[in-house]
Symmetry: C2
């Protein structure tokens, strides 16, 4: 039987590529998305499509009300999404997001007797979020081994971050080779109700440049 | 202005004492409970009473559906709660529970610009859960500093565990001095619908012995 892996799937370009990589490595994949009252739920629809494309064993959407995290523009609609790059950590930062997501994945991993968690963090073409960096992931890994029954019993749950040192172009090239249909993914922080991407937010800009640098046609539907 | 602190409040004896300690240390206290489809919601009612008793600034109940964590007897009613002590980690273990709880507290801390989180973990009179031990808390603390905007900007969010090395009797003595009304708390893993404690589960047994050893009258209402 192939080894199990949980893949945190947001519906964006990076997590879709991460699922494709885990699948190509022979893992039996379980996808997890979190419905945390994000600004739009188009990304959950995208996650479902990607999970189906890669025939995951199970696709779990966890309901977690984070509407009270009102300091983040990704949750609080009253905060404008920045449309130009800035220095420092942007207002789209969701406090402790990856820690929360990986904690939930960790719980599911123990429940499933699964030794692998994949997360599509990237520390090259990213918005500067602290919880996308290698040193953060390393510290989470150390904590995992002490937090869990599995850890105490000597069977490590490993956090995999296959994209962490790749450029966005490299990610697009890799995913394309592995059959990711990027038209099914959504990266935009503020899509229209019909799912068109703004082309202006940090996430759209990184995605657009990624396709350009990769020399691959960008299948994203942008607002004209 | 006094310093802010978030206190994870389950409605049990330990977390109530922890809130009393944080209050006595002059913190401006914010209580957080998680409605995670635990076996019974009597503990959430207890948490609310305790939060009111100590006049917290805010009491937040986060809704997080963990009903899918069916390996734990605290979530899955089909698993019998053990009524005698055993070796190893018991079936009442909820995978990654403290990691999930502290991650949510961490998010709220950053949102509130709060530098302190209190959790009532105890590694003396406890059920052997891995995420109650000092080395786990230390690793979580290291991770916090790398995970957050606060950490990057140099203002640490500190995890406080004032009970970690106390016996249950010491906890009861301390809380009694600080005005905790333990009749408002509930420790039982399987109370009756009207809130009577079983006196048989691990949590009841540790609580009973704690009051006995402390020489303090146990105000718990047990099933006769």
């Amino acid at each position: 039987m192939s080894k199990k892996a949980i893949i945190l799937l947001s519906g964006g370009l990076d997590s879709a590529t991460t699922l494709a990589i885990a699948t190509s490595q022979g893992y039996s994949c379980y996808a997890m998305s979190i419905d945390y009252n994000q600004r739009h739920n188009i990304e959950l629809v995208a996650a479902k499509k990607i999970a189906k494309l890669f025939k995951v064993k199970d696709f779990k959407v966890v309901n977690l009300d984070l509407s009270w995290l009102n300091s983040s523009a990704l949750i609080n609609n009253a905060i404008k999404i920045p449309e130009s790059s800035s220095t420092g950590i942007p207002v789209t930062y969701v406090p402790a997001r990856n820690t929360i997501l990986m904690s939930l994945a960790l719980a599911w991993a123990e429940n499933l007797d699964c030794g692998n968690i994949f997360i599509g963090v990237n520390a090259v073409d990213y918005s500067g979020y602290p919880d996308c960096r290698q040193e953060y992931i390393d510290s989470f890994q150390k904590m995992v081994n002490l937090a869990t029954k599995s850890g105490v019993e000597g069977s490590e749950i490993k956090i995999h971050t296959p994209l962490i040192n790749l450029s966005k172009a490299d990610i697009v090239i890799k995913g394309t080779k592995l059959g990711v249909d990027y038209s099914k993914t959504i990266s935009c922080y503020q899509p229209t109700p019909t799912g068109l991407s703004c082309a202006k937010c940090d996430s759209c800009r990184l995605r657009k440049i990624g396709f350009q640098d990769a020399g691959i046609m960008d299948p994203t539907s942008y607002v004209i």
